[in-house]
Symmetry: C2
Subunit: 244 residues, 2 copies
Amino acid sequence: MPPEDRDALHWLTRKLEALSPLDEADRAGFAALPHIRRRLPAGAHLVREGVRVTECCLLVEGYACRHKLAATGGRQIVSFHMRGDLLDIQHLLLSVADHNVQAITEVEVAWIPKTELKDLAHARPAIADALWKDSLIDASVFREWVLNVGRRDAKSRIAHMLCEFIARCEAAGLGSPERIDLPMTQEQIADATGLTSVHVNRMLRALSEDGVIVRDRRRLQVANWRELRRVADFDPIYLHEAAA
Amino acid sequence: MPPEDRDALHWLTRKLEALSPLDEADRAGFAALPHIRRRLPAGAHLVREGVRVTECCLLVEGYACRHKLAATGGRQIVSFHMRGDLLDIQHLLLSVADHNVQAITEVEVAWIPKTELKDLAHARPAIADALWKDSLIDASVFREWVLNVGRRDAKSRIAHMLCEFIARCEAAGLGSPERIDLPMTQEQIADATGLTSVHVNRMLRALSEDGVIVRDRRRLQVANWRELRRVADFDPIYLHEAAA
DNA sequence: CGACAACTTGACGGGCGTCAACCGGAGTGG
DNA sequence: CCACTCCGGTTGACGCCCGTCAAGTTGTCG
């Protein structure tokens, strides 16, 4: 059958197995998880700040972002997500969401009851380890983002965001530096890098003029991967083999 | 016996119990953990980027910070730590450190073998949950920091950092808004907020002139806690009761 | 009392935000 | 098939927040 018809949980086990070894019983445990599959339009809220969460959202197709709002109205995107990402693993143990998750393209998601996933983790230590490790990698990525918005200039920040997104897409089998479709708008890139969309536009142009990337609408081609990584100060160690 | 002579692990169990219920056997499991206690001077490296970690560092006394370095030489502090914090819980599952942890005052630490802590977590699900929850709260704090450096102006950033630090000190029984000793230099505040020490100094003065804080060397008094929280845009929900 | 780190303050400049106008493609409806 | 609309992208002018540089002060520890 075509990949898009596969079991929704396939992409989750695929990702977790790359992090931590799972045996046949672990895989069976995942496969047996009850879940409800839904297709939602771009802009749909998948997790809303302040709300008590009872189900975990698994992203099966499309892209999403996690963001927080400042009192002044500013929005900060703190991560992008793609096929196979569990969007709110933290709500297995934290009851109230401290941020929002929103679809940035049309998405397909699978809702898994929190209690079922928690029971599975308690029953099978290898699964608990894999999920824990996944959440630790998330935390590592957040640390890198603090560095990115705190200590790099605009061009580096954007380059870094691109490097990370490309590396993660590649790990998920969704593209390569040679040709990648960016799902996010320049305004979303701005919200992820702590800049404005106007300045993002200027910097993307600069990266083009430097011959580092080639742009054609939302399609991006990395003309010089080594140079992009250098400008970005990108060292994938912080992804902890999630992208290896 | 005086509190400072108590078992090193007391502060860890005290903190974790506030997050997640532990029974007598869980507490006994912690108490039985082998560990080596050490006193180290300010500036000592507790975790070093790129190094394979075999022991977990528990902070028993004093203060530490976690930081990353940019290629341009910039330093970004991504969190501060105090009594009772496990400094590298992430290395239970991630083998290589992606950042540094350094003492900012004289500290007392306890080194716990990774394998022992991991075995304990596997043997006692309540402990695994408590540790996992602790690391999820860490991640939540990182997300808030991304927002802080990405989307707030200098005065708010510093105010926010102060609010968080005070709230966490209070939770750890180390001070209150009425009188708190800041262990960090203005340069460290700058590295935590993505600013320069010069500008931190200007903003601290501004906060004083606004009548929000009163400074006397490293000693800080919050003159108007409500106003400080307002300026900081501080909503402690992201600490997930760690400070409740 | 000398040395050193941390703090303080002022002058100046630049990177990025703000504002505003315009363009271009995709979808929609007549 | 062509207007119309709308969202996202593009570009320029201008200004401010914060970085940089530099000099001086204060507190601490030997």
